[in-house]
Symmetry: C2
Subunit: 294 residues, 2 copies
């Protein structure tokens, strides 16, 4: 069956690329000739997509940039364009949703049926039953936040957790489940525990994890936990993550397994009418820089 | 300054109510006479709002139900209607967003500028810098997930965390901040640590927390941590939480401090043309049942 993971494996190989281009369209940064067009967001993103599609393993539109400007129709048109013109490239809708099951079902309709995304980013804070409605779409990918690239990510994700101490004791409520059969040693940081949980939830091989490039040592520890599970790695480019350290820490034994995201450094590489060519140039350099360390 | 927290305090008093009506409009459950209308979602929600607005402290539309059906325009119209016809009632946009700062800024534009919500629900997993763009809107409320009402919430939120063990040791990355100056005892469950973190983030009195009615003992422990901070409590009604236990565990000393949410039990109380009257009847009973234990 064609599904997100197999499409990703094909595009890794076909385009010889671990690069994911993040589509975070901010009209204030668009070239002047596009700014006043009614569908400027679509036109900008389409030009970037068409200029880089043969250099990437995936494309990742970030929904907030569309929703902030009432541009849901342009997001729909953009994803339809990608599927029509670049059918081998999986589309990850970066939405970081997370809610109880009945609401998660609605979000899954939004991402997978309305927008026709191939995969979506999801927040794990609410646990397995909040993720199951996404997993019910067997051909789709579910990419759980694990270790995010921002400094504040440490506040929760870096906390040491131990699953044993509270078992059965903390709450009188019969519905207060113990954390699950995945147990953590007393010094496991939360993000590693999340990596183990997701490995358990992923009964049909649909999951991936977000692990920031700003923490190579932690990227390595997640890779050791999850085997060949794909990792979506933000944080190179504008956020300062190092490509060599990222690839060496995160790749699988076969030199693959990563979707290394770059957004702003590619999207806004040029400011003139040739912005898409400028984006292609940076995308090519980034793909090749990544490939040097595979 | 009129802001979310002061509006909430006024509606608690004015309507003598701790009830929040959750607007989760599922067209498959609408009365037959509404189903084929082009703006059925708006019409359904407007009828519920107009029938219950004098009985509630807040109204909480859940964005997924609108986004799944391309009905963003109906959500905009609904919130505009509430502000115009029921100006004392704060609107909580239930969206559970959570992303890095530059993206969180876009989500904040979506919630606060496009939809004109008075408050929004936000996921804390990515830490303080992911919450700050929301807090920059000083008149708005930011409601962080703490202890959610679903069974799977336990998997992460119930884990015991200790902030001491990993300080400075785990990662070689200079950007790997220690979790913060809030330290946890070795047996603090994650949700209590989140309650303490949010108390620290909330320098201007804008925050609230989501704590499920399905865990009264934990609701009590959060109340002890956060003083008078408002708590949004889902889980009564369809999810089975007990009203008496919830109110007794969660109220402040003055018998207030709660937004007790009910969605499905009120929205779908009736199936006929009198569905709004049926909803009002259940809302009134629920408000009064809550008030018996304040």
């Amino acid at each position: 069956m064609k599904n997100f993971i197999s499409s990703l494996a094909a595009s890794w190989k076909e385009n010889d690329s671990l690069l994911c281009v993040g589509l975070d369209p901010d009209p204030a940064k668009f070239p002047l000739h596009l700014r006043d067009k009614p569908d400027a967001i679509f036109e900008f993103c389409r030009a970037i997509v068409d200029a880089t599609a043969d250099l990437v393993c995936a494309l990742k539109p970030q929904i907030a940039y569309f929703a902030a400007r009432r541009a849901e129709d342009q997001l729909e048109a953009l994803i339809a364009h990608i599927h029509a013109k670049h059918p081998g490239i999986p589309v990850i809708l970066d939405a970081k949703r997370g809610d109880i099951g009945s609401t998660a079902e609605q979000y899954a309709i939004e991402a997978f049926e309305r927008y026709q995304a191939d995969a979506v980013t999801v927040n794990p804070y609410m646990g397995r039953d909040s993720v199951e409605p996404w997993l019910a779409y067997k051909d789709k990918g579910v990419i759980l936040l694990c270790r995010t690239s921002n400094p504040g990510g440490s506040e929760l994700q870096f906390l040491p957790v131990g699953a044993g101490a509270l078992h059965g004791g903390m709450s009188a409520s019969p519905s207060a489940n113990t954390p699950s059969s995945v147990t953590a040693s007393p010094h496991t940081p939360l993000f590693e525990h999340v990596a183990r949980l997701v490995s358990q939830w992923d009964t049909d091989g649909q999951c991936a994890l977000v692990v920031g490039a700003t923490f190579p040592a932690e990227l390595r520890s997640v890779r050791e936990i999850v085997g060949n599970m794909p990792l979506l790695v933000p944080g190179i480019g504008a956020q300062g993550g190092d490509i060599e350290a990222t690839v060496k820490a995160g790749k699988t034994e076969s030199g693959s397994g990563l979707m290394i995201n770059s957004s702003r450094a590619i999207l806004y590489a040029g400011k003139g009418e040739d912005f898409a060519e400028a984006a292609r140039k940076v995308a090519l350099e980034t793909r090749d820089a990544i490939n040097r360390y595979r």
